[in-house]
Symmetry: C2
DNA sequence: TCCCGCCTCTCTCAAAAGGAGTAGATCCAC
DNA sequence: GTGGATCTACTCCTTTTGAGAGAGGCGGGA
């Protein structure tokens, strides 16, 4: 075989680096991700966002190959960012990265069109694999996330009204109180609560709230 | 002025660098912190721990100037690490770093002897300031943390028994169920629940659970 | 020793919650 | 337009919860 000319570098440099935007409200996490990604020859962090609004704007302007998104951010929630970015750019490749909070968020993001979902405690290699997969438009979910998504699909989903009632339930409101706030009768409130108990497979309202917290159906 | 000899570096290098151990179960966060600290001329990351056990062992072995500790870690909880390290090394300088979770954790760590407490969304400058303060044995708490600690001190604290009952309450158990699990009568369980409601200033058990979650008195 | 906090247990009574079933009004999709 | 889902509302009945008040035992600190 003829040897390669001396000018060729030992490591192959890809023609197009994967251009990445990082969106996370923790400076420490952004620095950590940036440090990991910038060590890779085929990746490049082109911008960082500290909240949801910034993330949306930066995506519009820079149109990166991948945006890594934290779910919980100030100003605009990660789910809202997914929705807005995909509305403007239907082929956007978004990778959700969050400290796991229950299957509801996973389900919502993936069903809205996010390409990948992973947890913040993932090892570096997995993070890189996820970004490469998403950049090639291949879906990515770690096995724990995938199994959660499957579990979630088997469960009955709550209606909008029920979610509203559940939120008040989680705040510790009584049926009477819920009825007042929603301008319905106490009987109707009880009907909704009963439906919630059935769907969440709970015996009491307190247990329902515990289940809701575990699944990420309500926020503190 | 006579110019410095060529051998002297332009930036003053302190005689003793602050030796730091990082303990956090997220590789990304460790990388981020390491990147920030290693940029400083007066700091040096000497080890990283991915769980509480490792953190305790590494502290024993390396005796760093400061250990930065995440509160939520596998195998051994951050509070337990604080307790164990301080038992073996009464002058250990520990800086708690966590995503804010309510005033209970703050209170417990600080009252156990942790020197500092800060939030993960803190800007880089604040993180560095906290580490320098703690390394000099000066307490550090960001203003939001400090005010939380003060708030907490004004509130009545629950007894051990009440905390046990509260945990079961948060899981959605009924009085009868709680009584069975704790081997007491239902009447006694009700007495405890009533005491909890009074101390947490809640009208119903569900509201009590909501308050407990906000304060970090119970874990999911 | 005496008091106090904690845990235990008891009682009564009213209010709230929960189980089961029925049903009218919309609205949307097939 | 028929069927299904959703929201609304009702009744009847049982169980659970919460308020109030009292009291004995036990351990530790003044």
């Amino acid at each position: 075989m003829s040897p390669a000319p001396a000018a060729v570098p030992p490591v192959a440099v890809p023609v197009h680096k994967i251009r990445v935007i990082l969106a996370d409200d923790h400076p420490v996490v952004r620095d950590g991700l940036a440090a990991i990604l910038n060590r890779q020859p085929d990746m490049e962090v082109v911008a960082e966002a500290a909240d949801g609004e910034e993330a949306t704007e930066l995506y519009d302007r820079l149109q990166p190959d991948v945006m890594v998104l934290d779910l919980r951010m100030p100003k605009r929630d990660g789910v809202a960012v997914v929705e807005m970015v995909l509305a403007a750019h239907p082929h956007a490749r978004l990778l959700i990265m969050t400290t796991y909070d229950g299957d509801e968020d996973i389900f919502r993001c993936l069903s809205q069109g996010a390409k990948g979902y992973m947890l913040k405690d993932a090892p570096r290699t997995e993070i890189l694999a996820a970004i490469r997969a998403v950049s090639e438009d291949r879906p990515y979910a770690s096995s724990s996330v995938a199994s959660k998504a499957l579990q979630r699909m088997a469960k009955p989903s709550l209606t909008q009204r029920e979610l509203g009632v559940l939120q008040l339930l989680a705040e510790g409101r009584s049926n009477k109180d819920i009825a007042r706030r929603l301008s319905i009768t106490e009987g109707t409130a009880k009907t909704h609560v009963k439906a919630i108990l059935t769907k969440l497979d709970a015996i009491s309202r307190t247990e329902a709230v515990a289940v809701a917290h575990k699944r990420g159906l309500v926020r503190l």
